[in-house]
């Protein structure tokens, strides 16, 4: 797999971490568009690697939020994943074929499947 397939914001060769050992690549659908990411990495990393920074909009003011604390403490990277609302994408591993959607506020029943 080339860097292009899994996103332009990857670091393949690193002076201290060495060469990247790639995991299996899987397809992921984000708001209806197809992307590719590595199985097992946090969903938020797949998105960030493709330059997708916005994960949800807030309940009160409807403004965009994205990956902020990175360790599962804040709600800002929560998205709808395979029909489940409020999934913290920074700590949830990517599985093959996931369907990920930008979430509005706390999510709606229509979004949940």
């Amino acid at each position: 797999m080339t860097d292009k397939d899994t996103g332009a914001f990857r670091v393949s060769s690193h002076p201290m971490l060495g060469e990247r050992r790639d995991a299996d690549v899987t397809r992921v659908i984000v708001d209806g568009r197809e992307y590719h990411g590595f199985v097992g990495e946090p969903i938020a990393m797949t998105l960030l690697a493709h330059g997708i920074r916005s994960a949800r909009s807030t309940a009160e003011t409807g403004t965009a939020r994205g990956y902020f604390c990175g360790v599962g403490r804040c709600p800002d990277c929560a998205m709808t994943v395979d029909g489940e609302l409020n999934v913290m994408t920074c700590i949830t591993p990517l599985k093959p074929g996931m369907i990920v959607r930008t979430q509005q506020g706390l999510g709606t029943w229509e979004e949940a499947e």
Partner: protein, 400 residues
């Protein structure tokens, strides 16, 4: 309900060291680690760390994390990954959740080594996508090898600044602007962050990393009603401890950053003390001596930055979860709120998913500046379970 002899919460340097010491002294030890690997803070660091095992090896953070895993595995510590202790109830009963199930766990002895959380300081535009904490950026770059952007802005000058700048440089990312005084920082953009300014001049950025240092994160001890005091060195309320590092709650030890910001060597020495204490080891005195020695020789890690309340704009959000602006917190204080709990009751600030970890410092500073309350008197808001966002379906699937 499950039962365990010794449960260590958190697999960073302090927790792993405690588990290793207790195990070496014959105790049966379970270690609950919330993330997908042990190592805590070390996992996302590439800088060379202190010589924790005193063997002359200058290990980088991620190498130290890997070594901790090897040692825990070899020692036979029962390490449970992606396992979050979300509640501490009477008689040392823990609520634990993992991706498969949830359960209650009664521990004869608990070592809380829950570490730190990054400090967040509000500034105009800080809620935009693309703005992230230092550990979020370090996790992305050094664990997952994804860079936050290609033109990155940095805000703040906290204790992890060097690690952030080295990591960006190693990943080949340009720092296009560094606003070291958060008071001057302003960010903007449509849909996600596009610019950062420090002194009026805008730099085009596609990500911003905030670097304000870290704060102790001992929420479970607070839930357990452990006594606290205000530590100047940590600029935070932290659990009171005996010389042997036991909290005011019987059979609950607190070590490492959770009990006050420490150096890596001190975190290891504290873990070692707690490990020997819970296993009633004859070597406890030696561990205590070692800790005293480290405390006098290892220096201190600087406390996190404190927000400047006066310069915070009214329209800036203080509580990100509930979207409460500075003006609303100021109104609450003008209306008689004198504690963090008061502000929360008036406008929900601090009531969100993050359990206040990213806003209560700011709220305390606003109360301090407006109502004159001392930081000592601004006790943390009442800690209630769950300590994390957990789907009810997961709790409902409890095995109890």
């Amino acid at each position: 309900m499950r039962w365990e002899e010794v449960v260590v919460i958190g697999g960073g340097v302090a927790g792993a060291t405690a588990a290793l010491a207790a195990r070496a002294e014959g105790a049966t030890v379970t270690l609950l680690e919330e993330q997908s690997a042990v190592g805590g803070y070390m996992r996302w660091c590439i800088g060379v760390q202190a010589d924790v095992f005193d063997d002359g090896e200058g290990r980088r953070g991620f190498e130290l994390a890997e070594l901790l895993w090897d040692k825990l595995y070899d020692a036979g510590v029962n390490v449970q990954l992606r396992s979050t202790a979300w509640g501490l109830f009477e008689d040392n009963v823990l609520g634990v959740v993992n991706p498969d199930t949830s359960y209650q766990l009664r521990a004869e002895k608990i070592v809380l080594a829950s570490g730190s959380t990054d400090v967040a300081i509000p500034f105009a535009g800080w809620e935009l996508p693309g703005v992230m904490t230092a550990r979020a950026a370090l996790t992305a770059m050094n664990i997952w090898r994804v860079v936050p952007g290609r033109r990155v802005g940095v805000v703040g000058n906290g204790s992890d600044l060097q690690e952030v700048l080295e990591s960006l440089s190693a990943a080949g990312v340009d720092v296009v602007a560094h606003v070291s005084d958060v008071v001057l920082a302003e960010a903007g953009g449509e849909g996600s962050v596009e610019w950062l300014s420090g002194n009026g001049e805008r730099a085009e950025v596609d990500a911003i990393i905030t670097v304000h240092g870290v704060q102790p994160d001992a929420e479970l001890a607070l839930q357990g009603q452990a006594g606290t005091y205000f530590s100047d060195g940590s600029a935070a309320h932290v659990p009171q401890r005996s010389d042997g590092l036991e909290s005011s709650v019987k059979n609950l030890w607190v070590v490492g950053d959770a009990a006050g910001i420490t150096t890596t060597l001190e975190a290891a020495a504290e873990g070692n003390v707690a490990g020997h204490a819970v296993s009633k080891s004859k070597k406890l005195d030696a561990a205590l001596e070692r800790l005293a020695e480290v405390r006098t020789s290892a220096g201190v890690r600087p406390p996190a930055s404190i927000m400047d309340a006066g310069s915070l704009r009214d329209e800036t959000q203080v509580c990100r979860c509930e979207e409460i602006r500075a003006s609303e917190v100021r109104q609450a204080i003008a209306g008689g709120a004198t504690t963090i709990n008061d502000v929360k009751r008036k406008n929900r600030a601090g009531m969100g998913v993050c359990q206040g970890i990213f806003c209560t410092r700011s709220i305390a500073t606003l109360i301090h500046s407006q109502a004159g309350t001392s930081f000592e008197d601004l006790v943390p808001m009442t800690a209630r379970p769950p300590a994390r966002l957990i789907p009810l379906a997961r709790l409902a699937a409890s095995e109890d």
